[in-house]
Each structure stands twice: as structure tokens, then as C-alpha cells.
Symmetry: none
Subunit: 207 residues, 4 copies
DNA sequence: AATGAATGAGCCTTCATTCAT
DNA sequence: TATGAATGAAGGCTCATTCAT
């Protein structure tokens, strides 16, 4: 799926990147605090360190900020996972590692994950599919790892089960952020990872 | 936790109940369609079948509608579960049945669950804890069932694991609603229930 | 000037009088506290001890309440002055006594005077002249007393001066209410009466 | 007493001054015609020559307009008096002149004085003391003049009498505006000044 | 006569967006 | 490129008034 372009009046690509970075950073903080709808464009501009006029040189509408935020967060998660995860190895150990890495990324980017989680639905009918696609890609990544394990005979799972477990892993990661009010009272991130990993793999691992 | 009272100017309790029902029904449809923030109070009134003035005879602020919606949805889920679920039996079968019932309720009330899921965060600092508490209660319900199973020796789980699995069950039910765009293409609700049940219980059941 | 009629749906004249009395009493308190515009009809009804529906059985519009309040206050002041004041005696002593009585009435009815003073301007173009006329009548009363004194040779004043002093007396009475924040810190009502009387009469009294 | 700041979103101080001037001018006309409460913010904006959005760039709430109006009127009266009045000379002539100037200012600014007189009470508990203080300052000005005369032996008055007469002068000036419906039929401003001056000073001037 | 639920015009205020400088 | 003053549509909410019971 092609990246949605967000229109900018300014030509200098370097500048665009820089300004958008400022913008997104400020926006994440604000969205986390008050949500997308309760945040004003002026606040975003101020948090980004420039004027409302300048903000609109780099976006067309307020919603573009939300899109950029969501897009960036996914990209960051993706990048961090791609660096560390080997989808083709096909060992239980590599799956465990992947889960571990993913959960750690969620923990590191809690605010961002939460924002994306809670605000993505405010995206227009136009931008939403693009973001949902990213979600799918992430599940697909775990699906690939699991498939490798199944192929290698390390796991015994039907196609449908494999698919389901991929989604479960993604959601159980996000859970750490969006149910923090309950979970983070009960476990440290490491305990959470250990327990979830155990629960996920118990019974499906070929002895 | 005591129920938060939403102020009404009208005195007739019967009427209040009736009007609020209309209100909530209309609001759920609208919130699902456009979210809480994009829905106007006028739209809520119209959808409920009365004027804006009348709406405000039954609430104090727009947020009250959201609170009533969330509160009602939880109550409905609760009521339906309480009817069908036996928390003290302590058999694997009763746990399976509980999961089955809960997932079915989520399936029946998809729109409501989705709305609550996506909009609850817009509740004020005042009302949010009350709603989160309801979430906790639901997890606690499954925790109780699992504990019964552990006591009876049907399941082999540490305290922490039992807690985690309760949360997983709750979230995996909600997933059916909030990841419908992915899951409902892959499975029917019955398949989903069967697979999740298998995945949840695999390995933890004492043979 | 003929009394403006305020329409009532109810026929029983006794009841009308009783209900309006309740209404006015409540309204004065409220108007004093928050002014006419910030007071709602519901509040007036509640303060009067009946429902909003009943209120509208005895008036046609909110403004009628204000009119009734103003009208009543003037009537009360008038009645109290008429009892005690002799306009034809023509002695300095009787003028002093009249001033004394008037100022005492203002002191007794401070809240009412204040309300009338501050809110009368909110009367419609229709009702205002009627109230202004009452003001004029009060000034005319003092004018008559002063004229008697002039005729008897007790005071030495031109027509224009007599007229002016009448108005001054009226306003200096009202001052006690509407500048209470300053005057009532400086004087007791008796001191105020004594001083104003002295200041008013000094130099105009024929030795 | 420090000047209450009215918040403006616009930064250019010059512009603020200009816009507020427009705003106040329009508001005075409207308030005089229909009172503060019956005037809408849209009307104020239109009368000022800009949009409702712009109006709110220069104030925070409707009440701010009223405050600015009152504040400005007092300032204008003050400025005009300070130019022309000498509080330390201590002659009867200087007192007469001061009265003359003050009454003339009231005559010139009738609409403004009336508005302030009738609407000031609608100010919030927060702003009211500030305005009352201005009233006090004006009375204090006349008090100073009178004290100078007493010191020089031109007037024979007790402290309390001096205080009272100051207040009388202030109110008798305002009377010209708020009892215009009666007084301006009877006298020209010059007659009014002459007569009031005579009445005020008669008997208190040391022969 | 009394009640109070229903109505909707209209108010104050916010805020995304534009555009002249 | 950057700024920020100007705009006005639109939203939340109030409250005088009506009318069926």
C-alpha cells in the first residue's frame, strides 16, 4: 500500500522533515494528555515551537497531524522490530525473542501506542485503511515467524490457529499500554513478557 | 463503587428511565458512526426523538450521555453474564461455557462494545474510574471461575497466571469487536470462540 | 396615570393578590441577589412557593414580575409616607419630619429601593413611563411641602430652586441605598439624616 | 488599586488599543439603547466593525466588554477633571469651578455616565470593587478641594459634613444624566450647575 | 387552578482555516 | 518561509413560554 502524501506548501524536503518531526513530537504529548479532539491546532503549533501559520505550511488539515502521528509511530515500531527480528529462522527461541522485542518496544513507546490506539479511529475514511493495513502487516510479521516454526515442526498449529495467535500477540502487546491501569500494577514488563510468552506457547509447542 | 448520579430536572422516575433509554439508543448509533466528539447534542436529541431542550432536561452536559451509554452497556453485559455463568462450579466445562457466553454477548453487542471501547477515554477524570472499575469487575468474574477450577485441581496455574488469563479473556472478547475488520473476515463467531478457547486452555488443563 | 393591568388567567381576585404577594416577595430577594436578568422565571416560581406553570397563570411575561415589583415598592413607600407626612403645614419642622420619615423608609426598604433603582431600566418602553411617573409623584410631594413653607415665608426659594431641592431630597434618600458601600461605613442612618437635613436646609431657611 | 488586565490573544499592543476603542464605542451605544444583558456579543462585534471571532481575540468574555466600558469612562472623566481642577488652591472659586467642570463633563458624557451607572452592577464580584474604587476616588477629589477650603477658612464644615458634601456633589452630577427625563425638561445644564452650586454652598460659606 | 414536561430560538464561545504582510 | 490577525460556521447550553393533564 502506497504511503499517503500529506501536502506541504513548503518545497524544501529537509525542512519539511524537520518541521514535521517537531510537530509530531509535540502532538503526541498533547494527544496523550487530552486526546486528538480536545487538542487545538494552535496548541500543536505552540508545542512544535512555531506559529499556527507555519503549521499550515506543512499540513492541509488538522487530521493530517493525526495521520502523521499514527504513521510515524508505526514506522518506528516497524523499524525497531525489523532490526531485531528474524522471521525465517523457525525456532521457538526466535519466536520468544520476537515477542520479547515487540513487548519491549510497546513498553518503550507506551504513550505513542496508546495515542495511536485511542485516536486512530478519528482518522477519516480515507486514511484509516492505510493505518489498519499497518496493523495487518505487524500481525503478518508474527504470522511469518509462526509459519516458519510450523514448517520446521517446532509448532503444531493449523493455519487458522496460527493466524489467531498472531493477532493475539499483537493485541497482548498493546494491552500492556491500554490496560496499564490494571496490568502495570500487577506485573513488571519482564514478568508480563515471561507470563504471556508462557501462556501463548504452552500446549502449542511440540515436545 | 457507588453509581454516579446523572442529574435530571424532570422528576418522574419512570419518564427519566424511558427518555434515557431513547437517548442512549440514539447515541450508541451515532457514536458508533461518528464518534462522541463528532456527534452534536442536537443530533443526539433528534435521534432520541425529542428536542434539544428536552435532552437537557435529562442530562447536565453532553458528557453525561457518554457516561450513561458506557454505564448501560456494562450493565447489560453484566446482567447477561450473571444469568448464565456459574463462577463456583469449578469445572473446565463451566469455564468454557463462560467464555462462550461472554464472547456471544460481545458479538451481539458489537456496536456497543466498540463504542465503549473507543469513547470511554473521553470521559472526564471524574467518571473514568467508575467505568474502569466495571472493567475490573468483569475480569474478576473470570478470575473467580478460574480460581474455582484451580481449587478443584482442574487447572494448574499460579495466582499471577490466573490473573493474566482473566484479562486475556476479557480483551480477546473485546478484540472480536475492535478488530472486526480483520477477525470477522477470517472466522465466524463460533469458530473464533472455539479457537480462542482452545488456545486459552491448551496446556493449562490438568490432564 | 392609570395603573397598568397585568393579565392573569385566574379569576379569583383574592387568590391573585395572594399569589402575587408571594411572587413579589421572592422576586425582590432574587433580584437583589442576582439582578433581574440573571434571575430565571423558574427561580421566581420556586421562591414564591409554586410551580412555573402557576407563575404564568398570574403573569403574561417575565417582565410583568419586574413591573409588579417596582409598582409594589412605590406603593409601599407612598403609603408609609402618606400616613406620616403633612404636606400643607408649611413649617420647617414638618419638612424636617418629612425628610426624616422618607429616609427612614428608604433605610427600612433598602433592598427594595436598590432593586427598583437598578432594575427599573429593564422595564419595557411600555411600563417605564408609569414607573417614572411614580418617581415624579414622590418629588412632587416634597415640592408641595416646600411650597407650603415658601408660602408661609419659612423658606426663601425660587420656583426652580424648590423643584431642584425636591429632586435632591429624593435622590439623597435613594443614595443611602445605592451608595451603601460608601455611606453606611461613614454614618448611621440617624447621623446621615441629621447631616443631610442640615446641608439641605442650611442657608435656605429664613432666619 | 492595580488595573485589572483583560486578556487579549493578539499581541500587537497598538492594535489592541485601536480595536478596544472601536469595541467600546460600539458597546456604549448599544448598552445605552438596550442595556448590557439585552445586547449580544454579535451586536457588539458588528457595531465595532469586526467579526465575532475578532471580538474574542480582544476579550475573554462578554463581561470584559462591560468592564472595559466602565473603566474607560472613568478614566476619561478623570483625565478631563485632572486637567482642569486644582485641588489645593482652597478658594470657593476653585470649588465652584470644579463643580462646574465636573457637571459639564457629565453633560458631555451623558450616555457613558448613564451606561456606567445602570450597568456597572452587572460586573462580576471580581471587577465590581475596582469600579467602586474609582467612584470613591472621584468623591475623594472633591473632598480634597473642600478640605483645602476648610483649612484656608473659606468653608466651615466638620469632617463628616465635608465627606457627605463630596458624595452629594458626585451624585448630583450623575443625577443630571440618570434623571434627565425630569431635570433636563426643567433646566439647561448651565442653569442646573448654577442652581446646584448655589444650593450646595449656601450657608456653608464663611461670610 | 395547578403542575411540570416539552419546546426551540437564541446566546456565548471556540477553533480550524485563510491570507495579507 | 514565517507570522498572527481575522473570519464565521458550528457547538454546547439556557430559559421564557406553552399546553396537555
Amino acid at each position: 500500500m502506497k504511503k499517503r502524501e500529506v501536502h506541504a506548501s513548503v518545497k524544501d524536503e529537509r525542512l519539511i522533515e524537520k518541521r514535521r518531526e517537531q510537530m509530531i513530537k509535540g502532538a503526541v504529548t498533547l494527544f496523550k494528555e487530552k486526546g486528538f479532539h480536545r487538542t487545538t491546532t494552535r496548541e500543536i503549533a505552540r508545542a512544535a515551537g512555531f506559529s499556527i501559520g507555519t503549521l499550515y505550511e506543512y499540513i492541509r488539515q488538522k487530521e493530517d497531524v493525526l495521520y502523521l502521528v499514527c504513521d510515524t509511530i508505526y514506522d518506528q515500531v516497524h523499524i525497531r522490530l525489523e532490526q531485531d527480528i528474524d522471521t525465517k529462522q523457525g525456532t521457538i527461541e526466535s519466536l520468544k525473542l520476537a515477542i520479547h522485542h515487540y513487548f519491549k518496544v510497546v513498553d518503550d513507546m507506551q504513550d505513542e501506542v496508546l495515542v495511536m490506539y485511542q485516536e486512530a479511529k478519528s482518522l477519516s475514511k480515507d486514511a484509516l485503511p492505510y493505518v489498519l493495513n499497518k496493523e495487518n502487516e505487524m500481525a503478518a510479521m508474527f504470522k511469518k515467524i509462526i509459519d516458519s516454526c510450523v514448517t520446521k515442526g517446532e509448532l503444531k498449529l493449523s493455519e487458522q490457529e496460527a493466524e489467531l495467535i498472531s493477532h493475539n500477540i499483537i493485541v497482548q502487546g498493546q494491552m500492556w499500554a491500554f490496560r496499564r491501569w490494571a496490568l502495570q500494577k500487577l506485573y513488571t514488563i519482564d514478568q508480563y513478557i515471561e507470563l504471556q510468552t508462557k501462556v501463548i506457547l504452552q500446549g502449542v509447542v511440540e515436545k
